[in-house]
Amino acid sequence: MSSRIPLVPENTVPLPSLKANNGLLSWVSSVDHKQIGIMYLIITLIYFLLGGVEALLIRVQLAHPGNDFLTPELYNQLFTMHGTTMIFFVVMPFLIGVGVYLLPLMIGARDMAFPRLNALSFWLFFFGGILLYYSFFTQSGAPDVGWFAYAPLSEKPFSLNKGPTYWALGLLASGIGSVASGLNNVVTILTMRTPGMTMRRIPLFVWMMLVTSLLLVFVIPIITAAFAMMLLDSILGATFFTPAHGGSAILWQHFFWGFGHPEVYILILPAFGIISEVIPVFSRKPIYGYEFVAASTVAIGLLSLGVWAHHMFAVGLGNVTNAFFSLASMLIAIPTGVKVLNWVATMWGGRINFATPMLFGTAFIIEFVIGGLTGVAIASVPIDWVVTDSYFIVAHFHYAIFGGSVFAIFAGVYYWFPKFTGRMLSETLGKWHFWLTVIGFNMTFFIQHFLGVMGMPRRTYTYYDMPYWGPMNLISTIGAMILGLSVIVFVWNILVSLRHGKPAGDNPWNAWTLEWATTSPPAVENFELVPPVRGRRPLWDLAHPDMPDEPDAKIV
């Protein structure tokens, strides 16, 4: 091979060797999947705090009717930024980051298939977020048109400020990064597995990341195209979404939700993956119905592509269209139900160790089921007509995304923190964190179901003093404060445990997947020796040579 660096590596090019503790530059220049994964996690934690502060400000404003704590302008900016931040700069990149860290380890690989592309994904996400938040420092302020940015409100002449432009540019950049992540994950999972690790044996987290990554690859371009059109509208005067000039307001909604609903599954499927790892390990049993959990993921991924218009039942698309999307949306309940029941069946008959990851994992089942069941209800068109754009919906999707994704994320953090850092998180602080989260979360959001059906619309900076609305909102605000407190405990736990946590050892949970077969944290090259894979639980097989999962499996 010539000394010139070829455009596309013809062979495996040795990666620059990096020492993990070589100062900031070693992080910035890193193409190591573990360092990039950690950077994702740190940045998403910062955004989680920012988005959380935005949420608390919103709740303070709504603590009693007629409050003037925030101006309407600022309130609208805050709820827009809260939604955008939590979806695109917290949950999504956290799950991508955890995936980037764990995928190669779980499949016994040295790194991702394309380490430099991996770094590009991260930096696109990083600068996308900066572009979005920079808008706060401009004269026109942050975007104030909602995370869905419905046209024509988001366009001239109804939005003359540059907020929506920053919004679209920031999300465009990070979106391209997400596509690159998706491509990288797919190729890594399909081609880099260690011998013996067939597709029927990969951990369920890997299955869920595969489906999620395919969704990223096929769904993000929808919104990329829509962002391009929106930017052409605002910068070059195109007329895609301006009804006054022949454009269509409804087209934006089709494009946005064509992306936006699969996005919901991008946020939840990896969370399902985390739960599918945590529950078996802490129940000391294999996952119940592996094939069904994996196949139902594929079913959810496919169905998610055909349900977007359930966000548009109030638009007036006609009853036939509405009925179609209603049915498609209800069908998603079936594979989702299969998953929940398999998790419960996995716990059944186990010896369950309720350490913090399992506490969050168990609570996840209940909270997510609440969000899922209200989801089935609102898939019914007339029920949607009653509750859409009301606080019922706010409650519903917080149960799905906080009670679902974020609870799973907490479970994942407590589960893998020892692997990431070599130290355990404090169980005492973890239990405080858990109980404060459960109390604060349910107190904040459960009551919003009732506010919604009683007639309180979403996205209003103030509300009328209808009977009981004030006290109910106050309860919700107090719950949010408790939730805020729980996050402080969480961050405190991380900071304390990083220095003083109990040393973890290679496999503190006695888990079975390959990431636990190496040191904590893993060395640059991940494994000295990848254990033989003859089943779904290679470390179980090693520990129990007398009763392997697949007794007839041949050694590869």
């Binding site: 007629g66 003037d68 309407p72 302008e73 609208n76 419905y150 024509p152 109804f158 009804p243 269509s248 307001a249 409804i250 129940s283 000391r284 294999p286 119940y288 592996y290 109030a314 007036g316 009853n319 309940a333 079936i334 139900g337 299969v338 398999n342 419960v344 069946a345 716990m347 059944w348 008959g349 186990g350 010896r351 369950i352 309720f354 089942i365 209940i366 089921v369 069941l373 089935v376 209800a377 019914s380 068109v381 007339p382 007509w385 009653v386 509750v387 059906v453 009683m454 007639g455 619309p457 979403r458 209003t460 900076y461 103030t462 009328y464 003093d465 209808m466 009977p467 009981y468 129990h544």
Partner: protein, 340 residues
Amino acid sequence: MKHASHYNDLGFELTIDLNPSLRQITMENLGGLFNPSSPEMEAMAGLTYYTIAITVVILGIIVIAVAYIIIRYRKKPGDDSEPYQDFGNIKLEIVWTAIPIAMVAVLFLLTCSTMKTVDPPAGDREPDLVIIGHQWWWEIRYPSSGVSTSNEIHIPAGEKMLVRLESIDVIHDFWVPELGRKIDLVPGHPNYIWLVAGKPGVYLGACAEFCGEQHANMRIRVVAEPEDEFNKWQDEQLAIPRTPTEGIAGEGAKLFQTMACMNCHTIRGTAAAARVGPDLTHLADRATIGAGVLTNTPENLAKWLANPQRYKQGAFMPNMKLSDSEVKSIVAYLEALDEQ
């Protein structure tokens, strides 16, 4: 309805007197879904209750199962044995796939039949009402009689009104929780709904689609009246008031014609015929100002005119920098229009 209390967003003149009957939790006081007041809303509420009941049962089963697991299968201290390794059961998987399929099928059938009840086809019928969304108020037109008003919809109780909904600017959503479904007002895409109130009363609603800075203050009042009262109201609205020429009201009329007021507003019987803002011919007849931000009293109207931005920041009515006496005259004029 009793709970038509209003506050203003600066905290003064709070008119919430939570009357004793409101302290009791009744369906009527809870409002919205708990107090369906039209056949359409009753159908939707019925479906919602039914569905929520089923979901509560499912949730209950799962909660009980998990609670049982937590008690029964918690690891005992010192027990480090591994439990029986159970990999799954295909029959069980088939059963718990099939049961939800059956439930979804039932829910879907109920969904379709309720949709039909709520949204029966209108045929060629002309709309009885046209509602046009503006940032941030509602223009209400009655095509057959020619009545034009804003934010306050009068309908004859018990009668099915076909409503056509349009938007002049961005997407809004018409929502009166006790009367029926939400429906978007989409620019370039008119929609139709049926609006019915089973019995006379005042039904409050609001814009439900985020529509910009003052989305929170885009309220709707539906006043359902017996047929004869509705007709009387309609006749009053149609009356073209005489323009006062004398006194303080006469001053106000002159100011209205000479200042920028008439660039945006209509007062029938005068040269003011613009449709940018609400028709003010019978303003004094309406219950609120600014789509619900203030109760409509002469004092509040004066406050509003002195600085609308103070009460509804971002609204398109500018602060006209009127002097106190100018405000007084214009209030007198607007009040006088309705006294005739």
